[in-house]
């Protein structure tokens, strides 16, 4: 597993949120490469080199996955379950990003193995702060356990 470039996988179907998220990272000084996929199926394909992402270099995994819960085709919790079910991605940090404050989503996310849960605030400054905190934590401070890919 190659971790050096520490890329970020953003799973987000809302282009406005995508734009704002990318801007927030940039404003926070996080310049790591960010890959954006727009639905659950594409996220799974990207991570496991299947479907539209068949043939992708599987040795490159993102350092963190920012996963929206409400996704077309396959929802976020299901994507998370598949990530945790595969031993190659079982330890991949996944942060749930969502507008929802519903307890059921929170419970389902943690039960499925989410590392963190961030609610997207309406106030963009708060969002930038949250994103910056997230990025710092997962990209710089948190040492991923070393193991087999």
């Amino acid at each position: 597993m190659v971790m050096d470039d520490k890329s970020i996988l953003l799973v987000e179907d809302n282009p406005n949120d995508e734009l704002l998220t990318l801007r927030a990272f940039k404003k926070s000084g996080i310049l790591n490469p960010i890959t954006v996929v727009r639905d659950g199926v594409e996220a799974v394909d990207y991570l496991f080199g299947t479907g539209t992402h068949a043939g992708r270099d599987m040795s490159v995994l993102p350092a963190v996955v920012l996963l929206d819960l409400h996704l077309p085709k396959l929802d976020g919790v299901e994507v998370l379950r598949r990530i945790r079910a595969d031993e190659r991605t079982a330890l991949l940090p996944v942060v749930i990003l969502t507008s929802s404050l519903e307890e059921q989503d929170l419970v389902a996310s943690y039960a499925s193995g989410a590392n963190s849960y961030v609610r997207k605030p309406v106030d963009f400054i708060s969002f930038v702060q949250a994103a910056a905190t997230l990025g710092m934590y997962w990209l710089m401070m948190n040492e991923l356990p070393r193991g087999k890919p």
Binding site: N14, N16, D17, L20, R23, L69, H70, T98, S99, S100, L101, E102, E103, K120, P121, V122, D123, F124, I125, F127
Partner: protein, 717 residues
Amino acid sequence: MSPSPKSIRTRLLFIPALTAGVMLAFEVAKQYLKPHFSPWESHLVTIVFVTALAGFVTVFVVVPLAASFRDSTEKLREKHAALSALVDAAPYPAFLVDASFRVLLANSALAKVLRRSVDDLVGTNLFDALPEREVAEKRVELMREVLRTKQTMTFTDARAGRTYVNHLVPALGGNGAVSQIAVIALDLTDIFESERRRREAHERLQNITARIPGFVFEMHVTLEDEVTFRYASDGVTDVVGLSASALMADFSSLAPIIHPDDLPRLRVLRHAAVRDLRPQSYHFRCIVDGSIRYILIAAAPHRLPDGSTVFHGYAQDGTRQVRAEAALRAVMQGTAGHTGKGFFVVLAEWLATALDVHGVLVAELVQRDEPERRALVTLARWPSIPDAERIELPAELAIDDVAALATFLGERLGVGNVRLSPIVSVEGAMVGLVAVFDDRPPRDVDLVGSLLAVSSVRAGAELERRAAQLEIEAINADLERRVHERTLELEAAIKELETFSYSVSHDLRAPLRSIDGFSLALLEDYGSKLDDDGRKYLGIVRGESQRLGVLIDDLLRLSRVSRGPLRRTTVDLGALAAAAIARLRMREPHRKVECEIAPALIVEGDAGLLQVLVDNLVENAWKFTSRVPAAHLAIGSEMVDGEQSVYVRDDGAGFDMAYADKLFAPFQRLHRSTEFEGHGVGLATVHRVVTRHGGRIWAEGRVGGGATFRFTLRERA
């Protein structure tokens, strides 16, 4: 009055005595006087002597004789008067006639009957004295008979509604012929009447006692406890097999047939009755012809003047009754505790056992619309059959004709002697029947009849109960179905609401975030190209979109407190309030607010919901004291109207009590948003939390004088 025979005899002795005296006088004179006197003188002495003696005799003999004669005439008259008085004193007509039927003597009773006076009657001919010729002739005829036969005659005649018994008694004269006839007419009307009544009463008693199934008796108990039957009607023979006369002659003849176990009890009962003089009702067992009979007794004791006791009572053979009661009790006890189908099965079984019959059928009459489609559907059959059978009834069969129905059933089921009792509903319609079958000749007809009647009534009640239960079950099933439907509807509605809340939470916030985010991006990236107004407007866009975000969050919270189960645990409201205030102080460190929180403000409630409640109330108080330079908040609990309530008090802007009812309605605000922020959802949420706990919340306040919110978390006891 005549002299007594003794005095006559005494007087008669005087005559020889006198004669002897005179002769003695002459002899004395001749022997002793003559020698002393001259013959002249001696004659003179003799004369004087005899004269004296004659005088003496006269005095002693003639005078008493004369008196005696006079006395006897007088006495005869007295005797007649006495006889007249005696005859007159008789309360019934009496008279005396001579041989020519002349009335010699008559009494006033006769005179009264003949409406004549006694004096009138005496001396007249009887023939003339009697007013009715025919009667008189008959009477004279009978008297002639008496004259001829010299025998006493008796005859009866009636006069004026009275019955007389006439005695004609002949009196024989010196010549041996009948000289007089005495007639006495006895008025025996009352005696005859009472005799007739007595005979009637006796016959009535005989009739009654002969027709009742038992016997009546009179039993006497002396002070020494010697018992005799003074009377027992003939029915006693049927009851105990002893004749009434035998029983009356010897009470102890009853003892050998009484069941030995009952003898001591009977003695105790008798002694108790003699002591207490209370009516008794009991039974004892007799052994007659080798089988046991139950004799039922009802008797009332009565004390006689001599201290002994007499019982009047009635006894009957109650064997059948006792057996029927036992059978009935067996059936009732056997079926008690069974309901529904099981009841009918048990009833059939017990009936068969109690009555010792070959078969029992309990069936329900099923009557579809038209009478030709009537059928009996078996509820239970003994000996049992695997499936309920259905017996179609022919249209021409009149079901209220019990005999016809019995005959039909006998033929249809191929059984012998059938006896049945219809089961009748409360409305009086036949709804079924209870029938017993037996191939043997009918026995115990009464017992079977009464037990069938009771069983059918009981079966009827069970049918009614079953129908009522079916109805209740149908109602319950319908109710459950409707509850289920409503529950499904409600669940769908809740699901819809959750989906809606979820969409609001997720989908409404996303565009808001874009509005806010891109406004900020515009300000940051192109702010230099805008003038102050442009930047100010963008600021307003951001402020409003953030306010809308808060509103959405609060609405979601309100909907969330309405849902989900309420889990009661022990919650410290003081700790929650302290945490809320700490958060507020961090957010607005410049505020000077003094807080007083009661220690150990422990309540029972849902921790999550109470957190929302306290946060809202504390934030509310914080907000409305924002214009007070040094504000005071107090959170505690106190008794109000006998109820423990929690209060949150502030000395902020307060409110007008006129609008107190609007405080807790969603989106209702009492202040302009330029004065205090807010959208009126917080207190609605608070209200919802309190009502979900079964409590109440209310507020007191005045404009500029602060506000106090009080709430309880339990229903008022």
